[in-house]
Symmetry: C2
Subunit: 394 residues, 2 copies
């Protein structure tokens, strides 16, 4: 027999989560997580599924019938979208301007697709003209883009121009809305997005484990008309339709508790109002932006495509980004993150998401960064930063 | 703008979950679910990952380094095992004796494998001689079997004879241990199982969302030596190795809260002792079995392969199974389930799992069934059933 290991009671540190996610979870959502379970086919759960789907339609701003939480984290929702929409031999057009465009490309290849790319540097959005040119050249079946790039802090502006360019050439459009949903203006129907996926642990401030996905009829027609089944059984939307559609037939055991939590997190959005919530994110992130700019740092992306939920703050001269991240974690139990890929070492990634988009959290970030820069010897004007944030929050 | 739906506060009914899962969750695990999150790359979380992996090795009774919770429900762990071990063109030998053998076969086909079958009727286990014959005939690369069939209540006896038959013919062995882990004797290393997957929501009494998986070196060598990558990016074990292995590099955001819960559920197993827990399941299910047998019903499978964690109780003459299930749900908030597939209409599926394997729960099931049979006009000796269960529990 193999002996039992001796593991202590769960006692994690109390972090203030201001990185790229997970974001701080609202107490009401934590409480929902501790609710005793009903079965995944219980009549009461079927009702909760309906409610959760209705709430998801609200945050996506869509009437799509096909709006569900996928039983996994955001990457599972991403693979559900791409793995079902891309058939072997299809051409998939993926962006090059961030980490998650590469992930889309990787998943499309796994689905048997041929991947072509449309380019922009990391830290910049796609140009609709480039998308149109790429569509002209490659005739993609599916075009994917990232609405809110968590790796670069860039918001893709003018989404309708992108979807129009793709539709003009007959391509379906998949949007990564992981870091925009519930925090940044997102209008799936009005913008004519065919499929969008998201994560719950960013601006919805819900623990990861059940992830939003929506497809319009055009996209579902393609999924249901596939010549061969999707390559994943677990993520096959034609099978999931049996459970989340009218039939409510068993496919797999849903992550019941994660659905409870998502439902509660979405109720908080509905109570606040989605437009009010977008405005709050913008205001709180503006105070953060004012603070770091007054310190002389600024953000990496230009203002036109600044993403309020994820701020790519430039690392000042004279300090190592890792030292700053470690300092604020040790001194303040505050989580912020390093840059990824092409921006590694050049930026901090500071989230301003959901329940974390509050004056006290933003103030702590600016104060902790100011202290870290001072302690580690960077030449920044800490007092000016704090004053600017305070002023912006008044 | 699409309007916000009006959704009430979360207030599910209080069920006693005695179906095929989820099982009742221990209060300590529910409390763990409501713990505020740390980041998925936080140093404290990395430590919790190590502890969770160590505890998983204990419940699997394995030294396999490659022992992780998969970020999804049990079917995700199943697809992680099969989708990584089966390469296009491989032959996969799947059993026909239950619902989950069919699911294994479906996943192997999605992975590009050719599926061949080894047969036994629903409600019976596999015969090792039949497995040897099938291996002789088909030369499978991978053989899958279900240790504890949730659809039939059958426990596969003499697992070492199965693994030996497969290994003699060069096949790797994958075991479905969803309904055995933590409740029924399971010894991955001693029984020479190459890969095993499980669910947390059965005998571990943990909410679904992070699911146990273990692979030995022989299995991982095959995974890491694949000619083309696994067809799912999300479930690709060669990528997950980066996160759960020594490197701890970002792959996807782990379902942090589900890992908290699984860790706590596994701590409860370690505190009780795995052998003591197996014995408790056997004793509690024996009391249930004594009760239904004294009512003149009995279980579907023969005693030699009775599965204590999932009891396939024969439906008595004169009642409809659905009426009984509805009656106990309405009268007692008690969840039991109907038979599946070939056993549909013939059996009830009554779980005796984890925190549900207690005298009060077993007594409630027998009393509620006796009441339902009486109220619905089945000719059973209710008093004898209750007396037998009471006697067995003393």
């Amino acid at each position: 027999m193999i002996d039992a290991p001796d593991v202590e009671e769960l006692n994690p540190p109390q972090r203030t989560l201001m990185g790229p996610g997970p974001s701080p979870v609202h107490p009401r959502v934590l409480k929902a997580m501790s609710t005793p379970l009903v079965g995944h086919l219980d009549p009461s759960f079927v009702e909760m599924m309906d409610e959760t789907q209705e709430l998801l339609r609200y945050v996506f701003q869509t009437d799509n019938e096909w709006t569900i939480p996928v039983s996994g984290t955001g990457s599972a929702a991403m693979e559900a979208a791409i793995g079902n929409l891309v058939e072997p031999g299809d051409t998939f057009l993926a962006p090059t301007n961030g980490y998650f465009g590469d992930r889309m490309a990787a998943m499309a290849r796994r689905a048997g697709g041929d991947v072509v790319r449309v380019g922009a540097p990391w830290g910049e959005p796609l140009d609709p003209d480039d998308v149109a040119d790429a569509c002209e050249e490659f005739h993609p079946d599916v075009f994917g883009f990232v609405h809110a790039e968590t790796s670069t802090g860039v918001k893709q502006p003018d989404v309708p121009a992108l979807t129009e360019a793709a539709h003009d050439h007959g391509a379906l459009v998949v949007a990564d809305t992981v870091t925009s949903i519930g925090g940044v203006e997102l209008k799936v129907d009005e913008w004519d997005i065919d499929a969008a996926y998201a994560g719950p642990q960013k601006c919805l401030s819900c623990p990861p484990g059940a992830s939003p996905l929506t497809l319009n009829d055009r996209a579902m027609d393609k999924v249901l008309g596939r010549e061969e089944p999707a390559r994943s059984w677990y993520l096959d939307l034609s099978l999931l339709e049996g459970y989340w559609g009218d039939e409510r037939a068993y496919h797999h055991t849903a992550p019941i508790t994660n659905v409870y939590a998502l439902r509660e997190a979405l109720r908080l959005v509905a109570e606040e109002g989605i437009e009010e919530r977008w405005a709050r994110h913008r205001e709180m992130a503006s105070a953060l932006k004012a603070g770091v700019e007054a310190m002389g740092l600024g953000l990496n992306p230009e203002d036109d495509y600044w993403l309020p939920s994820l701020n790519a703050v430039l690392v000042p001269d004279g300090v190592d980004d890792g030292d700053v991240i470690d300092y604020v974690l040790e001194q303040y139990d505050l989580e912020i993150a390093a840059g990824l890929g092409d921006l590694s070492g050049d930026v901090f990634r500071v989230g301003c998401m959901g329940h974390g988009a509050r004056p006290e959290n933003v103030t702590l970030v600016v104060a902790a960064l100011a202290d870290a820069f001072d302690a580690l010897g960077a030449d920044v004007d800490a007092a000016a930063g704090l004053a600017a944030t305070r002023e912006a929050l008044r």
